[in-house]
Symmetry: C2
Subunit: 509 residues, 2 copies
């Protein structure tokens, strides 16, 4: 591995033991801190893979990255650029840049890398004939599916289908996964109102649909989402996104309702009674909107943990209540697992934490799945005629094959259980930090939710910038949250490095 060779060659200033560190290593603070190791060691999951710790050689961006960013900016907007990346030198939990900086990455491409950079098993999957076939012979999946498409689905996407949901509509990314789920919800509701799948559309419906008017266009219906939710940034999904003005300004939006997402007090268990009351109020608001909003919702969409919106949690009781109230009023429940899905919460799907007896109607996925779509179970969620839910590509078989390889590896290495365990380990360490520096690690949250953990910091943006100088790449969410989104191959030893850096950040200012 070239990253390992680079690290071997670099001057070792700090050595992390490959064994578990039980407390932060005392490291002298320096203006330009470097982490490096003298030799690569065996990783728990793959041999000769990762460095033992981060290396910070230059400021980030360093001189090489700066020059490349100027060049890139001529043709591609770089104002949201976080770190120009050298993927060929990134390995496992470590992300590299062109200046030789190698950071522990607990942001992971906005929570979308499951098995580490340059995972050797995925590399092998990428070389198979099946993958090359999927890559160079891209099918229009709705019209000309590959003969093996059923098998690819059954052994991949559908092998991990949430309980009660056995079908899938495949898509390209989280936004269109959600939008196609919304489309299915509108068609389902109108079909029910019309009197079933065999009732034909009227002339009036067909004519009005063509001019974007009711009754043909369902402008009389809506999707209900929650304040501070994030469901994507295309026109329909953005109408349900309520994260920040900058995401929504100047873009037309549907007049759809929003309910208050429970704003709970953390830690959740210390405020159980108060939180239960907040959740009851929130559920009452949902029910009131369902029954009184001038454009009745045909579906409620919700994230198990509001991610982009600031890592806002609610309890299983709230979500069970949401399932009850939607069922009671014949409204569909769409669970957006784009960010929470695929293991990071210590269950394969975060909504498994809820112990639902009655599954969600649809569950959307993307990010760590490296492909996207929505699961459903009720056959009536298939629109009553062909070509109603359709587009040219309808997903990407190459990416579906990659998800299958990811699933196999998650199972082989038992990574969901692993993540639950490492999450507990990390959470305990964070609790200790929060006890020590209560002003710096506020509202610690994500207990029992794997490594899907966050806290608030009053100088969040500075906190994240500083983290890079200490060798860790971390993301934020909402107004002040530091969100941890390690990969599923994040281990206790990585947690130790992270905890050490977090402490050094808050003691450095």
């Amino acid at each position: 591995m070239s990253a390992c060779r680079a690290l071997r060659a670099s001057k070792a200033l700090v050595r992390y033991s490959a064994a578990r560190l039980t407390r932060p290593v005392a490291v002298p603070l320096e203006a330009r801190r470097r982490f490096a190791v003298s030799a690569p060691t065996m990783s728990s999951f793959y041999p000769d893979w990762e460095p033992d710790g981060p290396t910070v050689k230059t400021e980030i961006p360093g001189p090489q990255a700066k020059a490349a960013i100027v060049e890139l900016n001529e043709v591609f907007d770089t104002r949201s650029l976080n770190m120009l990346t050298d993927y060929s030198k990134s390995t496992g939990n470590y992300i590299a840049d062109p200046d030789g900086n190698v950071l522990l990455d607990v942001y992971a491409q906005i929570a979308s890398i499951p098995l580490g950079y340059n995972n050797p098993v995925l590399r092998k999957a990428a070389r198979t004939d099946a993958m090359i076939n999927g890559l160079i012979n891209r099918p229009a999946l709705g019209n000309f599916p590959p003969a093996e498409w059923a098998e690819i689905l059954r052994t991949g996407i559908l092998k991990v289908a949430p309980s009660g949901l056995n079908q899938v509509f495949t898509a390209m990314a989280g936004s269109d996964a959600n939008e196609t789920a919304y489309k299915a919800a509108f068609m389902y509701r109108r079909q029910r109102d019309r009197g079933g799948p065999n009732v034909e559309f009227t002339e009036e419906e067909m004519n009005s649909a063509m001019v974007n008017q009711s009754p043909g266009a369902s402008n009389q219906l809506s999707i209900l989402s929650f304040k501070t939710a994030f469901h994507g940034r295309l026109f329909g999904s953005l109408s349900t996104t309520r994260s920040k003005p900058i995401h929504k300004l100047d873009i037309p939006a549907f007049d759809w309702p929003q309910a208050t997402f429970p704003q709970l007090k953390y830690p959740l268990d210390a405020h159980a009674a108060e939180n239960a009351e907040i959740e009851r109020t929130a559920l009452d608001e949902v029910e009131r909107l369902i029954t009184t909003y001038h454009l009745p919702p045909c579906a409620v969409v919700v994230e198990p943990i509001q991610s982009e919106g600031g890592d806002n949690h609610a309890t299983p009781a709230f979500f069970r209540g949401l399932r009850e109230v939607t069922r009671k009023h014949g409204v569909l429940l769409i669970v957006d697992e784009v960010q929470t899905g695929v293991g990071a919460t210590g269950r394969f799907w975060a909504h498994e934490h809820w112990d639902l007896h009655d599954p969600p109607d649809m569950v959307t996925f993307s990010k760590k799945a490296q492909t996207a779509g929505y699961y459903f179970g009720n056959p009536e969620l298939r629109p009553n005629k062909p070509y109603r839910q359709f587009n040219t590509w309808m997903g990407d078989p190459a990416r579906a094959l990659l998800f299958r390889a990811i699933i196999d590896e998650v199972e082989r290495l038992d990574l969901v259980r692993h993540t639950a365990r490492v999450g507990e380990y990390l959470y305990e360490k964070l609790e200790r930090l929060a006890d020590k520096y209560p002003g710096e690690f506020r509202n610690l949250r994500g207990k029992g939710m794997g490594t899907f953990i966050a806290f608030d910091n009053p100088r969040r943006d500075e906190f994240l910038a500083k983290a890079k100088t200490f060798g860790v790449n971390i993301g934020g969410s909402g107004q002040s949250a530091v969100r941890l989104r390690p990969m599923l191959i994040f281990e206790e030893k990585h947690a130790d490095i992270l905890i050490d850096v977090l402490e050094r950040i808050v003691t450095s200012w």
Copy 2:
């Protein structure tokens, strides 16, 4: 090539000469017709690649496909399935199915295969380290672009940028390419109305945007599209799509205006004066809608040839007029080249046929590019702040690398000029067929537009079904159009087979 071996083994009933056929081969009609060859021959582009002609062994779907479709239908909607495909046995212009049927494919995954199935050069590109890196280390391109992203863009997507447009926002497919272009248009217009990029959003704008209301959400503005247009099926793009009720029914839509696309008489040159009048009327309607529609359009979106809507053509004069009228009123012109782009019209971009002095503001692409996005030139089309036009993946580097390999091959083999030439050859043959069977090949259109050719048939659906039994896979569009969408490697010899089959279809009923 396994398809070649399969063909070699099959019983030869009809042999097509590899040399150019100047007229249809007389072939006895049979209930179950078979085409096959005794041995593979050199293709013009790649050695030992394609069969010499189609093989039809069973009805389509045959017994193997039927069983597989039943299985697939349990988990994936198959009602729009056209032909279950064996991609591993498909080569070049020929698509194979699990029953050993091998059809000449002039539909090409809804116009999205540029260089043939299992193209050897793309296969090589798929095996490179760069491709594997792009596939297994999927970046969030806006936050963590690969260090080589500028180079990938410059040597790929931007190498073929339309004249006057030197920047790109990358996307996943045609729908989100169009929707992100629309978002750019709304932001641009509001920025201009606000007084420039440095004018801050007001509190009222920020607050109203969060509840989906004006002025923060641009519900007071619109996108103007044309009747029978197709621009995608997500909520924003579907609001501009005006193809068929089945595409739009039950889905909420924005109250955006539609103008009449010129309904010209074919052949265009035989009705020049009359068509010019129709186009003038259409342009007047566009101008009237721009100046009077209650939600003023910030952009007009148009396809160079309305594809899904029925292969409706307009003349360069119309499009030049559209550029003038949009420029005059400060409205952006978005050219949707999702289906027309990448060579099939005998120019790399179809709008190059228009001889514009003033380029479109944005050009969207997908399909044959195997990746998607929109080109633009005006730097003010970059929103004034970061994270306004953003999503997690913002495209796919693996697919961008594939487009680069496609571009290189298109240039190496001079395939755009090739397609212009083969298109002329094919069009002439079709003219002769239309002279001979005027009721069967109506409104022949696409002269001088490469192989992007269509005609109407009164029994269109039956026509397409019959084509399969004779060994050719063809698509339809609109109400009665047979649309030809061969790949860029379609040659005169394939045109001969196609013409022969077309004649046999209409003489068989």
